[in-house]
Amino acid sequence: MLRPYWRIVIQAQLTENSIIPTAGQRFLRFARRLFADFPTALGTSIMLLFVLAAVFGPLLAPYGFNQSIYEHPRQPPDSSHWFGTDHLARDVFSRVLVGARSVLLLAGGGTLVAVALGTLVGLASGYAGGWLDELLMRLFDSLLALPALLLALLLLGTLRAAYGESVSAVSKGLGVFLVLAVVYTPIVARVVRSVVLAVKTRSYVEAARLQGESLGWILFREILPAALPALAVEAALRFSYAIFLTSSLGYLGVGVQPPNPDWGLMVNEGRRNVSQVPWAMWFPAAAISLVVVGANLMADGLKRALREE
């Protein structure tokens, strides 16, 4: 079968032994890289498991996450309650499983918003330069000067003061979401900006500019792809930090409110009853660590996969 002429020409221009892979092939190759070696495969598996738990957790949970099983209070882990029951006779396994969703929604959602905002700001700041860059970066410097947890506490405290008692459990969740966005946007913006600064003087960007391409095209089709590897790694890292921050806020009692099965909150509740029901603290704590380790391992693998790409 004869191939169209243009295709042969393009292929000839490409480097040795390469063909243009289809999107599906590229995805498969990328997916294979995420399982290429043991640590990355481990991290990816943990994250897959976590996402599955977040999506299907409430369906899979053997008991209601707030259901007291009066006959089995404070029961150590066994075959009927894999993670035991807590001080209020609730099944810890069901709570950890259902809690995955709030962690994914809060930490994941907050990270996504921060990445989106940070990318926009980083692109604008880096490309425009000048006074806009100065202004934004000094503003972000001042935000970054505060430790993330302190900034989060300040923001939540202000939200609470502004809305007083009427802050419902839902909007407290929203508060955590907002806090994550505010705390992590500057960090993402700085990473994107540094890539933009390195790339914007490259000849292909110059060429696009001279060709009269629109600003949107230059930013999103010429510059952004160069920032994607760094951005993907940053997003994965931010996500793991976001889990920590969400859990810390839950632990400190300013995040999600009881009796929601937030992992940090469960660790706090478990701490108060650790002498009687230590397992009620072990398992949510283990879940937090596992997901954080998983996210980090995956970020590591992602970095290499994208570098080799």
Partner: protein, 540 residues
């Protein structure tokens, strides 16, 4: 650039996991399982400056020292104290005129005896002889008169002013005799005289923060937020007291730290702790655990002066949706007693009527009542209320279990756990529709009725106003006939169980843990009124 080897990263991963694991273990280990942990909580131990078991003491008189863990004290003026640690310290530095024993009966202290006139209006007290203040000055009737005039002064700004507003006159009718005249009979007057604040101070002391009392112990040193060190008052007027040469109250921020210190040997007595911590101490050797029932309780209340709480069907539905026994078993782990929605707990003896029971749990009927109410008034059959709860004690747990039990009856509540300072701050707890409030143990039940349930009561958080209830409260609080009072309390309990806008699911237990080696210790329902002046070393 050579990427780091998978092996190296695996090693790093393993290391991370190991660190994480050891962190949990550190946090989970039965806190202070040996003498080395828990040191951080007390900030490095310096040897107690008073005589201890090891250093010995003079062969005669009091010997040894008791180290008690408590939360830090703030107020030292007896007229202003409130926390149990403040009352505990004051109770050992000063004396009450009349005390309350462990069975909640009035008992002599500085007053050796008293007579009451037939009309119940005149009380004459005979005072103990040979009593001196810690500064050496003698004690007399003038000190009693001064103390109570200060406490009842409406201009004085002390919290006792309204409690003593019924006193018409206080006179020193002899050097060691005081006569109180009331404007109306008060069957609980002796209890009022033993109010936590009614510690006798020296005549003329404007701001009594100098610890100049007549009590069994004298203050040696007070370091705010650290400790207060007391030594035996060898001139104490009660024979054989105090039994210990020293008493040290060491301050801790939370009960976990107190229990760690007890395990680590830095303190001998802890009287405030969670059920979980108490349970964990039961297997500890060398420590005796004590639990006594009290009259204190957690009150779940719904505002009765506005919708939805102003309809008896809503109140009944909440009562029907609540399983008190299950709550008691989960939240209090079976310590204390199950509640019957009235503040007259089983510890009040004849006043408590065991026959009175709130309606048995019936989820279907609760749902039907709410549907009926909603159809008639256009209200929300799920109520959708915010349940406000302070973050202390078992209250958040109670809220979680209630939320779940009520959900079975279709009642939706959203829990708002608030720091105590926020819950009680700006009187927010008196405003909200649905809330949970802890009420401490009192020696007689009238207090709860006048403060919490009578129309216009200062802490009538449910904003309840019921003419029948008001009349019964008045009768119980003014009659001098004990049988009449018992009958009135019985009726009040029946009304509260049936239609009071309150749910009392349990009465607390008071927990204590004492290191072995002491005898004569008797804990009281209000930990702060526990008197250790009769405690001695088992082997002096």
């Amino acid at each position: 650039m050579k990427p780091e080897t998978p092996f190296k990263r695996l090693l790093l991963t393993a290391l991370t996991l190991l660190v994480a694991a050891s962190l949990w273990l550190a946090a989970c280990a039965p806190a202070g399982g040996d003498a080395t942990t828990g040191e951080d909580t007390t900030g490095g131990e310096s040897p107690a400056p008073v005589a201890t078991e090891e250093t010995g003491a003079p062969p005669t008189g009091p010997s040894g020292a008791l180290r008690v863990a408590f939360q830090p004290i703030v107020q030292t003026d007896p007229g202003l104290i409130s926390s149990d640690s403040e009352v505990f310290v004051a109770n050992h530095v000063y004396d009450y005129l009349v005390d309350i024993d462990a069975q909640s009966n009035p008992t002599p202290r500085l007053a050796t005896g008293w007579t009451v006139s037939d009309d119940g209006l005149t009380y004459v007290f005979t005072l103990a002889e040979g009593v001196t203040f810690h500064d050496g000055s003698p004690f007399s009737a003038a000190d009693v008169v001064y103390t109570f005039n200060r406490l009842r002064d409406p201009e004085g700004g002390l919290p006792t002013a309204s409690l003593y507003s019924n006193i018409a006159a206080i006179e020193a009718t002899g050097t060691l005799e005081v006569t109180f005249t009331l404007s109306a009979p008060n069957p609980f007057f002796l209890y009022d005289l033993s109010d936590n604040h009614a510690l006798i101070i020296k005549d003329g002391t404007a701001a009594p923060t100098d610890f100049n009392g007549t009590g069994p112990f004298k203050v040696v040193s007070y370091t705010p937020e650290d400790r207060i060190v007391l030594e035996a008052n060898l001139a104490y007027f009660q024979e054989g007291k105090p039994g210990l040469a020293g008493l040290e109250v060491i301050f801790f921020a939370d009960d976990q730290a107190m229990v760690d210190a007890l395990r680590g040997g830095q303190v001998d007595l802890v009287m405030r702790m969670s059920t979980a911590l108490f349970e964990s101490l039961k297997t500890e050797t060398g420590i005796t655990t004590l639990d006594i029932p009290t009259n204190g309780f957690d009150l779940v209340r719904l505002r009765a002066d506005r919708a939805p709480g102003n309809d008896p069907r809503v109140v009944e539905a909440l009562k029907l949706a609540t399983d008190r026994e299950a709550i008691w078993q989960l939240v209090q782990q079976g310590y204390g007693a199950v509640g019957n929605d009235s503040p007259v707990g089983p510890l009040y003896g004849p006043y408590h009527d065991p026959a009175v029971q709130p309606p048995a749990r019936d989820v279907e009927r609760a749902r039907a009542l709410l549907d009926e109410w909603a159809a008639e008034t256009g209200g929300d059959p799920a109520l959708n209320l915010v349940l406000h709860v302070p973050d202390s004690g078992g209250r958040p747990d109670l809220a979680a279990v209630l939320q779940q039990q009520w959900a079975e009856a279709g009642i939706i509540v959203e829990i708002s756990v608030e720091p105590e300072s926020v819950y009680y701050g700006d009187d927010g707890w008196l405003e909200v529709d649905l809330g949970i409030t802890g009420w401490g143990s009192r020696p007689y039940p009238q207090f709860y009725f006048t403060q919490m349930l009578a129309t216009g009561g200062e802490w009538n958080e449910a904003h309840w106003s019921d003419a029948e209830v008001d009349a019964l409260i008045l009768a119980a609080g003014s009659t001098l006939d004990e049988a009449e009072r018992i009958a009135a309390y019985g009726q009040l309990q029946a009304i509260l169980a049936a239609r009071g806008p309150v749910i009392i699911p349990y009465y607390f237990a008071q927990f204590g843990a004492l290191r072995d080696g002491f005898i004569g210790f008797e804990m009281k329902a209000f930990a702060g009124r526990t008197d250790v002046s009769g405690v001695t070393l088992a082997t002096p």
